[in-house]
């Protein structure tokens, strides 16, 4: 099968309360495709964490989820400030989230590590002042 399916989401950076909506949408769509519950869970957690990151750090962005026969690819693009030190950002507990975000229970420095943990492959391309592209892959 050469076909692929792309789901596109606009992640709104102005409204923190709507963060996580794309993750719920993608979960519903993957269920319709009949994927197994564990794959759906991994994709929706990775998507959720990525979405929250885009809202907290980059003022929103765009998310594309590509479904192919053998894998699901999540591409998150933003025009935010970029990540200064990716290696450091990947460390559990490292966080640059502001206090008001932490008071909501986010910004514990687990976002990127969780995205890596729940996916089979993850790539971060980031340029300071320009933005970040995170590409994650979950094999089916």
């Amino acid at each position: 099968m050469s076909e692929e399916l792309i789901f596109h989401f606009q992640v709104d950076g102005d409204d923190f309360t709507s963060a996580g909506q794309a993750s719920i949408q993608i979960k519903k769509n993957l269920r319709r495709l009949g994927l197994d519950p564990e794959t759906i869970r991994r994709v929706s957690i990775a998507m959720y964490e990525g979405e929250i990151n885009m809202v907290i750090h980059a003022g929103g962005g765009e998310a594309d989820v590509k479904v192919c026969e053998s894998y699901i690819e999540i591409i998150l693009k933003d025009n935010g400030p970029g990540i200064k030190n990716i290696e450091q950002a990947m460390q559990e507990g490292f966080s640059t989230a502001p206090d008001q975000i932490r008071s909501l229970g986010f910004g514990a420095g687990m976002g990127l590590p969780n995205m890596k943990r729940y996916t089979d492959d993850m790539k971060i391309e980031s340029e300071l002042g320009k933005g970040t592209i995170v590409t994650m892959r979950v094999n089916i």
Partner: protein
């Protein structure tokens, strides 16, 4: 997929096809076909929302009639604690229990009594090694069915304790056989007085191979007037109630959770809120929680669709009723508190049913999904319901599956005419 016997039915003669239930069904199980609502039984979770919102009273709960108990020699009533919140100026539960005896029951066994034992054993259960946290209560049958249909990854979090109704049925039978050795097991009939249709479905279908010990489920609203006329408020009422604050508390959201005696709990009620909480637990985005109590009805069981009273008023009444009760009247003594007896536990969970799946082949599902996306672009997107589907998205899916015709979209048809 095995057929599931539901307790929500439609009276087609009363249904006008008005689309009210269509918009309120949390699982998009309803369509309007040929002028009236049709419920997809694979998707229905028996929550009763459609019964609640139907302006024409066309949706009905299917429960037993009280007369169905006549086949038993010894009839035991199991009143849900919600029942106690239905009466004005009630200051003693014994009036209600006495009333149940007066309308023909031989014995009563309070579900709130069993609830106190279930609470005690749940505290023990949560201390067991290997219990996955947050542990999710299995007391609300709607929530259990919702998890089975939509949140299979949370299966491991479900507490394998039977609901108080089941434990009450079991203990009521045992007590009757002990007190009346002349009775045979088949002489005894157990009748749950229910606030919701989901309990009736639970009893009819069992639960993942578990067969219910309840014989009949009668709704609170069905016996209400009979009962209220039989309730005598005199000072010599027989002392029958054996429930404390904990047992009565189970009737409202948060009651079961506070009885865990651990502040790391969450209690959510109302089906939309329950969905939101389950989504969030699935995403791992919750604080460290021990226990999660979820009730499909707003306010908890007091919000059940087969009750008589506004849930908030019922809750306020229960608060008054509870005030001078001991915290609990049921305790585990000595040996009892060391392990959980088998009859409090269920072993299996219902199998995951991928009801949302478009096709059994993933390639085919992907093609259908692509078609759905294309269709959505040409549909108006206003979710008016005139086509008989709850949303334009659901309509697109119906069309692609061959269950609806694109010309059923009146808005689109109208534009074509212009």
């Amino acid at each position: 997929m095995q057929t599931y016997e539901h307790s929500v039915l439609l009276d087609t003669s009363k249904c006008t096809g008005c689309t009210t239930c269509l918009r309120h069904c949390p699982t998009e199980a309803i369509r309007i076909k040929d002028g009236h609502a049709v419920i997809n039984s694979d998707r229905c979770i028996d929550c009763g929302e459609c019964i609640r919102v139907c302006p024409h009273k066309a949706k009905k709960a299917v429960c037993s009639k009280l007369e169905s108990m006549n086949r038993f020699k010894w009839k035991i009533a199991l009143p849900a604690p919600t029942l106690y919140g239905q009466f004005d100026n009630l200051d003693d539960i014994d009036y209600v229990l006495g009333g149940l005896l007066a309308i023909g029951f031989d014995d009563v066994y309070e579900v709130s009594k069993a609830a106190e034992l279930v609470s005690a054993y749940t505290r023990l259960y949560l201390k067991t090694d290997g219990v996955k946290k947050p542990a999710i209560s299995s007391a609300c049958p709607v929530v259990m069915r919702l998890i089975a249909l939509r949140y299979p990854s949370l299966n491991d979090n479900i507490i394998h304790m039977l609901p108080p109704m089941e434990v009450a049925a079991r203990l009521a039978r045992e007590r009757a056989l002990k007190k009346h050795p002349e009775l045979k097991a088949e002489d005894i009939g157990v009748c749950f007085i229910s606030p919701c249709p989901a309990k009736a479905s639970y009893v009819k279908n069992g639960f993942a191979g578990y067969k219910s010990h309840v014989d009949e489920v009668v709704s609170i609203s069905d016996i209400y007037f009979l009962l209220i006329n039989a309730m005598k408020k005199d000072d010599n009422v027989e002392t029958l109630s054996e429930s404390g604050m904990i047992g009565i508390g189970w009737a409202r959201s948060g009651g079961e959770a506070t009885a865990i005696f651990n502040e790391n709990y969450l209690a959510a009620d109302g089906i939309e809120n329950v969905n939101r909480v389950l989504d969030q637990i699935e995403n791992g985005n919750i604080p460290q929680l021990e226990f999660v109590e979820l009730n499909a009805c707003t306010g908890g069981c007091v919000g059940g669709v087969l009750t008589m009273q506004n849930p908030f008023i019922a809750k306020a009444r229960l608060q008054t009723l509870r005030r001078y009760l001991p915290v609990s009247q049921n305790f585990l003594n000595g040996e009892e508190s060391k392990y959980i007896p088998d009859y409090y536990i269920f072993n299996e969970l219902p199998e995951y049913q991928p009801i949302s799946r478009l096709s059994s082949s993933m390639a085919e599902s992907m093609r259908m999904m692509a078609d759905i996306q294309k269709l959505r672009e040409i549909l108006p997107g206003i979710d008016c319901g005139s086509c008989g589907a709850p949303t334009c998205r659901a309509f697109a899916e119906d069309v692609v599956k061959g269950n609806a015709n694109i010309d059923d979209c009146l808005i689109k048809l109208h534009k074509k005419d212009d």
